[in-house]
Amino acid sequence: MDTKEKIKEVLGKKIIAWHEHSPRRIYFSIDPKDIVEATTLLFKDLKMRFSIASGTDTPEGMEILYHFSLDQTGEFYSVRVMLEDKKNPRIDSITPLFEGAEWIEREMWELLGIDFVGHPNLKRLLLADEWPEGEYPLRRK
């Protein structure tokens, strides 16, 4: 069974939207509460490589895309979640699953103010120590 079918089968109704921009660019949306389950499937079971995550402040909420690369086929899967509470965006951390996510979650925490619940080491990565608390440079005013 190919990887796309496998993801659709395992996650089933948890996939809110599925979009194939091209054969190598697959985007799908899930509810934020399912992120650990989806990451476990892609990273642990399907042996994908976590490339990076990207957070964006959108009018609808804080959007995070988790990008996974299936290096054997060149397919690139981006898992989309929308955190609707823009004042207090929160999502479960995926760092307990593997260390490679630690830095990017710290980065999104300090630049966008997204709280990663269960992150073992949530402290500043890029911003200076003097940077004021509660100011998030990538949030839109």
């Binding site: 985007y27 964006t56 990008h67 690139f76 490679g100």
Partner: protein, 401 residues
Amino acid sequence: MSHKVIVPIGPYHPLQEEPEFFQLYVEGEKVVDIDIIIGYNHRGIEKLAEAKHYDQVAFLVERICGICSSSHPNAYVLAVEDILGGEFNMVPERALFIRTIIDELQRIHSHLLWLGLAGHFIGYNTVWMWAWKYREPVLDMFEMITGNRNNYAMFKVGGVRRDIKAEDIPIVKKALDELMPALDLFRGAVMDDPVIQARLKGIGILTKQQAIDWCVVGPTARASGLSMDVRRDEPYGAIDRVDWNVIVEQEGDVFAKTVVRILEMYESVRIIRQCLDKIPSGQIDADVKEIPPGEGIGRVEAPRGECFHYIKSDGTNRPVRHKIRAPSFMNVASNKVAAVGGTISDATITLAAVDPCYCCTERVAVINKSDNAKVMNGWDLIKLSQEKTKQLKDEIARKGI
């Protein structure tokens, strides 16, 4: 009249590239923990890109890194071309070949730069001088083709900005021919030298499982047995028109990382030679006018690994979001496992083995765990590393190997 001036070059010196600060905790000789502190040179380029139009962003991202300065614009234009259509194939064939030639020339100069520094760190200053000497002709090629040794301004959405002139092609070929004996020399000097083998084998090991868990990329991953290379996995430019191999080693130690980089330079020469032979004539720019709303991802294999760019467009002439992830972002973090457990005399070369940059190891502080006193700085560590090589050399000479 004498007046002593001390110029401190701290971790926040903004002129040097990739300033990182490694704080090593040691017990006796052994490294027991490491703090990696980055962000000294955070310039807010992602935010800045939102205020530039699509043509300007290519120049902006070129300035992220002075060593792999074509990788970022390359990944950026691929991301924008991804928005234009998943099957966007308007980029003229000739432009694709020029992109790959620039990409591979850059890999050679970057790997030679690293090789020189690695040589210096272990006390092989001849390797340092020679590697940088043979890097110069590569930079001369860049100057001839692009007008600049670094920051080439070659990439634009839909093509490249300038052509490679027909009369330049034999000059590039000749420079590559002259580079081959130098590469043979380095391969021999590193791979057949018992001292270098004794010095670099078995230190700074990143196991395959650690490489997976820390999501490392590029030569750091390939030296740990992970067969991944964006050029093969998702070909871009003209890379799929030529024959070449992905270099993979299994050991994960500093020696394996060195071997991967040396052998990759041979592959780059192969790729450039074939590109120069096969380059078709024609246009070099598709003249893209408008970027539609949407999102795109571009990734290229920079000398240090996968370089990732994500662009979100709302149909205006500026990106609404531009996420950039350089390969070192993933690789540097893995020092947490590669350096811990080793000795401090191996720390410099281990930290340098992921190929961050010059300044990185200069910002090392060693702290004695028992009383938290600072005991060494970066230069002391390099000296220590060089002394260990010297001891090994003497030992091997005594045994008469």
